[in-house]
């Protein structure tokens, strides 16, 4: 009846290195879907990002006189690189990845003291800096999703474009790329040129249930994310509160003005929502650490995503939302410390009265 089990009964948690590796591996479904939808550029981005990340990490560790091999093995640079590789536009030129990884690894991570000391999520620092500095490259180099009939490039042609900026004869960058679903919705709503129904009818932004193309990528990241949650590598608090807040806000405003607010499903399955909710916002270093703190942290990110997407200057908002809440994380931790077992509810009051 009973399985015989021998000690130790408390299993040690995964090491940092293994945890980072597992999280990276569970991004693979999302990455593969991304490659199918957006072409080989995603793969090139990720490989370039990993090479740059490890190179920067090794150089700066050497300069800081730290053991290079030990710290490289913790796989945190690898995870940062993969997140940046997926987040960048698929046809991003190589120097965009280079500048991004420089800011992520050197400035945001190592200059703050290395893994565990960084206040801000390195991948999102890189993304925000690139978005602010190179708005043209960051918003126009999105290849038309494969689900729409667009031209596509072979692996060699993609590599040639990203490394040397050369396109095959007869192809232009405008023919290869198109605005992302979030961008289309945002610009037409702001201009007042089309209602949500009209955008639906055009068929350029809405797919089966989310943003065209990106819906499948988000679904794959959701699957990977649910799996790491099940494995206990991340707690449920951040992703669930993030998605719940985003859904609640889009439902609330959507029910008032149906013409200019897309549905919660569109918000869930377009842009980088699922990647952000499960893989970026849950970064153990920069997120809040207490249960209540995590719920507030996730809800804050969800609300900011909705606010920036709807009324802000950028189509997607994961990077800015995460960075803004990173700033609040220490404060949240301070005010939401759980009661330690054996201590009274409010120790300070008792001390004052005695």
């Amino acid at each position: 009846m009973f399985l015989a089990q021998s000690s130790p009964f408390l299993k040690p948690g995964l090491s940092v290195s293994k945890m980072m590796m597992v999280v990276t591996l569970l991004m693979i479904p999302g990455i593969v879907t991304s490659i199918i939808v957006f072409g080989y550029g995603v793969l090139v981005n990720i490989i370039l990002a990993i090479i740059f990340a490890l190179a920067f990490e090794a150089i700066i560790l050497y300069l800081r006189k730290r053991p290079v091999a030990v710290y490289l093995k913790d796989n945190s640079a690898l995870l940062t690189a993969v997140i940046i590789g997926v987040a960048l536009p698929p046809l991003a030129p190589w120097w965009l990845t280079f500048v991004g990884l420089f800011f992520a690894i050197v400035v945001a991570k190592q200059l703050y003291g290395g893994l565990g000391y960084n206040t801000f999520n390195p991948a999102m620092v890189a993304y925000a800096i690139l978005l602010v500095s190179f708005p043209a490259e960051m918003t126009t180099y999105w290849q038309t999703p494969a689900t729409l009939d667009g031209q596509s490039l072979s692996l060699l042609e993609t590599l040639n474009f990203q490394l040397f900026g050369q396109l095959p004869a007869g192809m232009t960058i405008d023919a290869l790329t198109s605005a992302t679903p979030l961008d289309i919705v945002r610009t037409s709503v702001i201009n007042g040129s089309a209602t949500i129904d009209e955008i639906h009818a055009e068929g350029q932004a809405f797919g089966q249930f989310g943003g065209i193309g990106t819906e499948w990528v988000n679904l794959a990241f959701l699957a990977g994310g649910l799996f790491i949650m099940r494995k206990g590598l991340i707690s449920w608090h951040i992703p669930i509160s993030l998605l719940a807040t985003l859904g609640f806000l889009s439902l609330l405003f959507g029910s008032f003005e149906l013409d200019s607010n897309p549905s919660p499903l569109f918000h869930f399955f377009s842009g980088a929502t699922m990647l952000g909710a499960f893989f970026i916002a849950t970064d153990p270093v920069t997120a809040s650490t207490t249960p209540i703190g995590r719920i507030i942290y996730g809800a804050g990110i969800g609300a900011l995503i909705y606010i920036i997407r709807t009324w802000g200057g950028y189509p997607d908002a994961i990077a800015f939302a995460v960075l803004l809440m990173n700033m609040c994380a220490p404060l949240l931790d301070y005010y939401t410390q759980p009661r330690v077992y054996g201590h009274k509810v409010d120790e300070r009051d008792n001390e004052e009265s005695s």
Binding site: V99, V107, I129, V132, S133, F134
Partner: protein, 251 residues
């Protein structure tokens, strides 16, 4: 030997003494202004104009020189009246002096460097609020002679200008790939050749010109200063034991 010693007159000795004391008094003021007690590096004062106007070298140079002029005028005036003004009302008096100096400088820039005036805008009147100026009036000029106060104002202003120009050139090179762009708004149309394209065909790195670039650039400059200071301290520490050994052997 004895003959040469007697040749030296009393006057010469006096001159020598005043000269050495002159150097002793003025060299530390220069060192303080340029490095040890630099308005930006050591005191972290005047950061608002520093961060706002340092997006090109010419803007930085314009504001730096204007600040230097104000510092010299206010330091000299404060030094002149330092024995007349009662300590209870010294701060309002300093503020009035600084504000008058800034107004005068603003009118000068408006009259002769109109384009520069348009670029620098609100930051010229805001020199009034630069804490470095009132700090020097209070800490130095109100306790020292006219000559020293003038020299202190000049050196503090120069130190501030040099940091501004360093940050300005850093941001301009990274942000736009040029140096001394718009040189004509300060030096006149004849000096447009000063503009250098460091990287031809460079698209620009917007972050360096935007406000965050100022903070990041200043942080790197401060890090470089701390690094140099640390190296010098280490050197001194290494040298000291040797000096002691030498002294011991000499004894």
């Amino acid at each position: 030997m004895a003959a040469t010693e007697t040749d030296i007159t009393i006057e010469d000795v006096n001159n020598e003494e005043t000269r050495s004391s002159f150097i002793e008094e003025y060299v530390p003021i220069a060192k303080d202004g340029l490095w040890n007690n630099n308005a930006v590096f050591a005191q972290m004062l005047g950061l608002c104009p520093l961060l706002a106007v340092s997006n090109t070298v010419i803007n930085a140079l314009g504001l730096g020189i204007a600040t230097m002029m104000v510092l010299i005028i206010s330091n000299m005036s404060v030094s002149l009246i330092r024995n007349i003004v009662r300590p209870e009302i010294r701060l309002p008096v300093f503020v009035v002096i600084i504000a008058s100096a800034v107004t005068a400088i603003e009118l000068v820039i408006h009259a002769w460097f109109h384009e520069l005036y348009l670029v620098l805008g609100i930051f010229i009147p805001l020199i009034v609020t630069n804490c470095a100026i009132i700090a020097r009036a209070e800490a130095f000029a109100s306790k020292n002679t006219l000559g020293k106060s003038f020299f202190d104002g000049f050196m503090m202003g120069l130190g501030f200008t040099l940091v501004l120009v360093a940050l300005g050139s850093l941001r301009e090179i990274i942000g736009m790939g040029t140096l001394f762009s718009n040189a004509h708004i300060m030096f006149g149309d004849g000096m447009q050749w000063l503009t250098i394209e460091v990287f031809p065909g460079y698209d620009g790195f917007l972050l360096a010109i935007l406000p965050p670039g100022a903070f990041i650039g200043l942080a790197f400059l401060l890090a470089a200063r701390n690094y140099i200071n640390k190296k010098q301290e280490n050197k001194k520490r290494e040298q000291k034991p040797q000096d002691l050994n030498l002294e011991a052997s000499a004894v």
